[in-house]
């Protein structure tokens, strides 16, 4: 079906081709690179890129101590939003990063991120879906 075609296309998307294409290291905070359709996560002092097409959902929440949390869920095989796609067949035996959660002191930054990631993801998925539609 159409969904399958779209999923197949997005698994081939890559964020960067070489290390030098990554944005220069700035503050250790989550960043969105619109141009390369990537989110960069600060993990142990490094900015780790993920293509936005690997993201399934993003949520934020706040606790009673005014700490803000952002939770990023990634696509993994055999979940309702990513049915038995080409991905799981192609990557037999692979382990998936499923979810990351970060705490932040800056609630505005977190709500901005949630919006940016959601919008970017939607735009990329729509584009890929249309591309797949045209191809069939």
């Amino acid at each position: 079906g159409d969904g399958r075609a779209a999923v197949r296309a997005t698994t081939d998307l890559i964020a960067y081709r070489s290390v030098n294409e990554l944005p220069p290291p700035r503050e250790m905070m989550i960043q969105v690179d619109q141009k390369n359709e990537a989110i960069l996560l600060p993990i142990y002092g490094s900015m780790v890129p993920f293509h936005v097409a690997t993201v399934k959902n993003v949520q934020s929440q706040q606790d009673t101590n005014r700490n803000c949390y952002i939770r990023i869920l990634f696509n993994v095989p055999a979940t309702p939003s990513a049915p038995q796609d080409a991905n799981s067949l192609k990557n037999q035996g692979a382990i998936y990063l499923k979810e990351v959660s970060f705490r932040s002191k800056d609630s505005r930054h977190i709500s901005e991120l949630v919006q940016l990631i959601k919008t970017l993801r939607r735009n990329v998925m729509n584009r890929e879906f249309e591309r797949a539609e045209r191809a069939t």
């Binding site: 964020a15 290390v19 944005p23 890129p49 990063l97 990351v100 932040s104």
Partner: protein, 186 residues
């Protein structure tokens, strides 16, 4: 400087982000001092287990693994530093650093490699990221296929990091044969 090399802007990476400092490599080992004092790291060459080089955005990263299971990552080396230090390590420590590559493709699937306290997520054989299991406060098996790692709340050293990693989870499909029957390890 007859004995060794001094580098003025080398940051030490870890759970709480990065700290700027100064690194000295001398014939007896490696010493890093945090800018403005405080934390210092000293590794004697007899304690060295291995060295690695990895190209990172705008810089190079030196990995220093010790026999005690500690692992330090220093960033801020220029390409020419890599060449001169590699020669220095070979002649003074009798070690050739191993070259690692960083994955930048942005994929979320790959392999998990466990080496001492370090968990490495590899994408296409290249390093996606590394975490230290020493910082993990709790692991949970969720369902049959997911492993969740929770990190210690770190309020002391994370001052230069705006967003701090709290939890990470991996999905291990049934088709994975690496960790069958080993539910305590992701």
């Amino acid at each position: 400087m007859a004995d060794g090399h001094l580098f003025n802007s080398i940051s030490l990476g870890g759970r709480g982000g990065t700290n700027p400092g100064q690194l000295k490599v001398h014939s007896g080992g490696v010493v890093w001092k945090k800018q403005g004092g405080g934390k210092a790291v000293e590794v004697d060459k007899s304690d060295l287990l291995g060295l690695t080089w990895m190209k990172v955005p705008r810089s190079n990263q030196l990995g220093v693994r010790t026999k005690d299971g500690l692992y330090y990552k220093f960033t801020g080396f220029r390409d020419q530093d890599v060449a001169s230090l590699t020669t220095f390590f070979q002649s003074n420590f009798g070690t050739t650093p191993e070259e690692k590559q960083l994955s930048v493709s942005g994929k979320n699937w790959g392999e998990v490699d466990l080496n001492g306290n370090t968990l490495t997520f590899l994408v296409g054989g290249k390093q996606g990221f590394e975490i230290s299991l020493a910082d993990v406060s709790q692991t949970q098996l969720q369902g049959k296929n997911d492993v969740m790692l929770e990190f210690h709340v770190d309020d002391t050293t994370g001052a230069n990091e705006k967003d701090s990693l709290m939890e990470i989870s991996f999905h291990i499909p049934n088709s994975n044969t690496q960790f069958v029957g080993d539910e305590n390890c992701p």
